[in-house]
Amino acid sequence: MISVKNLNKSFNGHRVLNDISLSFESGKTNLVIGRSGSGKTVLLKSIVGLLEVDSGEIWYEDTLFNKLDFAEKKEIRTEMGMLFQGSALFDSLTVEQNVRFPLDMFTDKTPVEKNERVNFCLNRVNIINANKLFPSELSGGMKKRVAIARAISLNPKYLFCDEPNSGLDPITAILIDALIKELTEEYSMTTIINTHDMNSVMEIGEKIIFISDGMKCWEGNKNEILNSDCEILNDFVFANSLAKKLRLTDK
């Protein structure tokens, strides 16, 4: 389980995370939702150690992650996979080389074993006949899928996704969501997803945390979210006119 306690993070005097405490359930898809600028990405980057927090604790099971040095963090980091908003594939490497990169860096597998693993991961995310292509030759959806293949190549225990659906059409977004959920169940990963896409929330949200101004405002699951009393959450959930109309009809 991953948990954070009393996290604080400021940039130039502007407080982005405000004494936030959360826990994420193991083997489930945990969604962090909130408006743009609410602190979701800073929270995620703090959890994975890309940002140093001002104060507070980040726990991976029984390990206090944010007090470890670079070498000690490395052990936990090899158990992490991350899907970035812009995919973050290495431009100079082909699809195949991108997925093989963590295997080259952290395993002593033979080239044949690495190739098998690369092809398995690419097949798992439905990328066929694209091994030799460069990221610039892929569509947005394909880039996300290759990034997922890279993230799962080392069988991670934890998967972090920052806005996995941004820039994708609704159908591709649903496919990416379904893929993340399937992989979470298949590998029993603890998955944390940052999103403001309500489709994702309703499709894959096993545990949902709503944050606003760097603070946790609400926590629940997809069945509870539509009947919440939290006003800021309702403003967010029923922000678009179709949702508003459906809510009024329902009432």
């Binding site: 052990e75 980091r77 090899t78 908003q85 812009g86 594939l89 431009d91 080259d104 860096m105 972090f160």
Partner: protein
Amino acid sequence: MVKFLTQVGLYFLFLKKVFSKPEKPRIYYKQTMREFVYLGLTSVGIIAIISFFMGSAITLQTAYNTENPIYPKYLIGLGCRDSIILEFSSTVAALILAGKVGSNIASEIGTMRVTEQIDALEIMGVNSASYLILPKLIATLLFNPILTLIAIIVGICGGWVAGTLSGVITSENFIYGIQYAFIPYYITYSLIKTVFFAFIITSVSAFQGYYVEGGSIEVGRASTKAVVYSSVLILLFNVILTQLLLS
């Protein structure tokens, strides 16, 4: 002043990160070979062209300035040789490389930073500074002296071609001049300067790219800063090294 000192401190911490133990030396070796091609071999053309024309210009200028009959003609060859070995092949070539290689390094690493590729490396547990920059440093430290030797040879050839074709000096006089009172240490001096300049170009440019925050505008600014700071440091160290090595 505080900002300047902070940047200097950050630069040395960055170097510490760059020189920490590589995760997998075999992968670093592959990267280094790749950088030999991208940063070294692709610079041969521009260095050769510029050296040729600089050698030509130096020869013609020396001829113009030594028109007095009391100066022996072979001085033109000697002047061309010494100018190229002492100053052009190392310092001027380094300034050219600061523009070509420095901006390339800063923009490549800066783009990797703003597109989160460096974050992706960090998440995997890879020391991104070492993985990305150490191979570039090794490649430039080893290859730039070769570029300097190419610049010397091509520059002197350029001088010979311009001198003989324009008729300001005969081939025999020019060849006598480039052999006259030759001090081999000048080559060593030039190569030592080149190694220092290669380190400045690569590390300063990589530093500018590595700490970029923002988007494409900031990457462009980092690229410009990389060229400006590298050039200023090259000129400063040129003076210091000349005093230390030639006095």
